[in-house]
């Protein structure tokens, strides 16, 4: 270490840190030479808690991982748990999950967009984003009575069927949102300060991204067309038309553009989902409430799903009992955060904030 360098501690509580991230930085003037993230402040060992609960109980821990897009976490856990327990959900439940998961993806991206604006000193888009997000949360409230930690899905289906009111609300949302989305989009891309702080900053190359296990919008912004909804379709993602947005620039702005395009594609998926939503049962009778804790699982299963942040994997090892033997969660942001020391080497301190914001950090998921 050079004598001229000073050590700076950023966090664990800091307005631009999206949660409890602590960074130990070694600074040469205003340039970061070394950076070490310190995590674990929100750790509650959900993997151990999952070993202690029945398969149906464990869903609540997954809600609290990525709490801004909880529905995607539920889909991820159930993809693995239902295969272990051999209780496939009926078609209607699967389509409901597709619709709800895509709404949740939009909600998560809106939180990111708003918070990223705040990181770069823009206050206004934050309110626009959260006003739109609130409409999605109202739909969730109508569906299950809860806004964020929804616990809406259950093993073998969903907790409650879609009624006409929810479908009408989603249709209203599909009508009003595209226009609002373009408004929000223009607030960013027509702002010179935003562009100068994102264009060409934090460039991540394809090879480095793959070797560090980076997935999701971050990887797609680096030019890899990899989306698990297409690569290994789950639910009914093979029956809907959508495009995978990619960019070859790999900088902060590319990540921003990819996420906005993803929201537009999500709207397309929701629209097709509503058209294709069949009549029928919304849960598997094998998993009705009195039977749920008696379900036994065996074997091991690794399910991969595309959450709003990247590849969300759940690996369950079962031993024939009513509780899982081992649950392992691959959280996308955990891997995406590990790239931060590489990206912020020899950049200005203020740019590091812009880079860390573009990763889309949610600490419920990193610390688990």
């Amino acid at each position: 270490m050079n004598d001229q360098w000073i050590e700076l501690n950023i966090g664990p509580q800091h307005p631009s840190m999206h949660g409890v991230l602590r960074l130990k930085a070694k600074l040469d003037g205003e340039i970061i030479r070394e950076l070490e993230p310190v995590i674990g402040y929100l750790h509650r060992n959900a993997e151990k808690l999952c070993e202690m609960g029945f398969y149906c109980d464990n869903l609540v821990y997954f809600d609290r991982m990525d709490y801004v897009g909880a529905m995607n976490m539920e889909v991820g856990y159930l993809e693995a748990a239902e295969k272990i327990l051999n209780v496939p959900p009926p078609d209607r439940a699967k389509w409901i999950r597709v619709i709800i998961a895509e709404l949740s993806r939009i909600a998560a991206h809106l939180v990111w967009a708003g918070a990223y604006g705040l990181d770069l000193g823009m206050l206004t888009p934050f309110f626009y984003c959260f006003a739109e997000r609130e409409k999605i949360l109202t739909i969730f409230t109508e569906a299950c009575g809860s806004r964020q930690e929804t616990n809406y899905m259950s093993i073998g289906g969903v907790y409650q069927d879609f009624n006409d009111k929810i479908i009408q609300e989603i249709k209203d949302f599909l009508e009003t949102f595209p226009k609002r989305l373009e408004e929000i989009y223009n607030l960013y891309v027509k702002n010179d300060v935003f562009l100068s702080r994102t264009k060409g900053i934090g460039i991540l190359s394809k090879e480095v991204a793959i070797s560090y296990g980076v997935t999701g919008p971050m990887l797609r912004a680096s030019g890899v067309e990899y989306d698990i909804r297409r690569a290994e379709p789950y639910l009914f993602y093979d029956k809907v038309n959508f495009e995978i947005p990619i960019s070859h620039k790999g900088d902060n702005l590319a990540r921003f553009l990819v996420r906005f395009e993803e929201m537009r594609q999500s709207l397309r998926i929701i629209k097709q989902g509503l058209e294709k939503l069949p009549e029928g049962p919304y849960f598997n009778p094998k998993a009705k409430k009195s039977m749920m804790i008696r379900l036994r699982g065996d074997g091991e299963y690794y399910a991969r799903t595309e959450s709003s942040k990247g590849e969300f994997g759940v690996y369950i090892v079962a031993d024939g009992g009513v509780k899982p033997y081992r649950v392992r969660v691959r959280s996308p942001t955990f891997k995406n955060l590990s790239i931060l020391p590489v990206l912020s080497k020899d950049v200005m301190l203020a740019d590091m904030i812009a880079i860390s914001g573009s990763i889309d950090l949610v600490f419920g998921e990193i610390d688990r």
Binding site: N9, I39, G40, H43, N45, E47, K48, K83, I84, I210, S211, Y212, G213, V224, Y226, A231, E232, G299, E300, Y301, Y302, A303, R304, E311, G313, Y315, V317, Y325, R326, R328, R330, F334, K335, S338, D367
Partner: protein, 152 residues
């Protein structure tokens, strides 16, 4: 070709390859040159008398998946961080929570829990009744005590 112990198919339709601890590094190097560029997940599973370490490998180009397993009795496994940098944090996490020592890891420290934490929580014999309290020393680093200090 590196020797493998057995090959089977999992419930998820993915190939599971069991290799010995000595052959792990040559086998993984071979997999890396075969195009498996993305190490998705490193998991350690406590089997009470031994520990299974499971690697989920993925090839971005061919979209192919392979699961590699090793079984260790003394919970020591060579690190694959030199082959895939993404193993760095995963191995630190598994060392922290399950207590597998990854030989040759550049920075094998606990990642979630403070360095002086006693035991590894995801072990099956971990004593949950023993409460550990985290306090902060003068330098701002965490330390662990078994009786509640002033802060509690």
């Amino acid at each position: 070709m590196v020797d493998i112990i057995s090959e089977s198919k999992g419930k998820d339709g993915r190939k599971i390859v069991l290799v010995s601890v000595e052959n792990l590094i040559p086998f993984m190097k071979e997999m890396r040159t075969n195009g498996f560029d993305h190490l998705s997940l490193v998991t350690a599973v406590d089997k009470k008398d031994s520990i299974d370490v499971v690697y989920h490998l993925h090839s971005m180009e061919r979209n192919e998946y392979v699961v590699v397993k090793v079984n260790t009795k003394n919970s020591v496994v060579p690190s694959v961080t030199g082959i895939w940098p993404s193993a760095n944090w995963d191995e630190r996490e598994q060392y922290d929570l399950v207590g597998v020592k990854f030989e040759g890891h550049p920075n094998l420290k606990r990642i979630f829990l403070p360095e002086s934490w006693v035991g590894h929580p995801l072990r099956k014999d971990y004593d949950l009744s023993k409460v550990q309290y985290i306090n902060m020393d003068e330098d701002g680093e965490d330390y662990v005590t078994f009786d509640a200090g002033d802060g509690w």
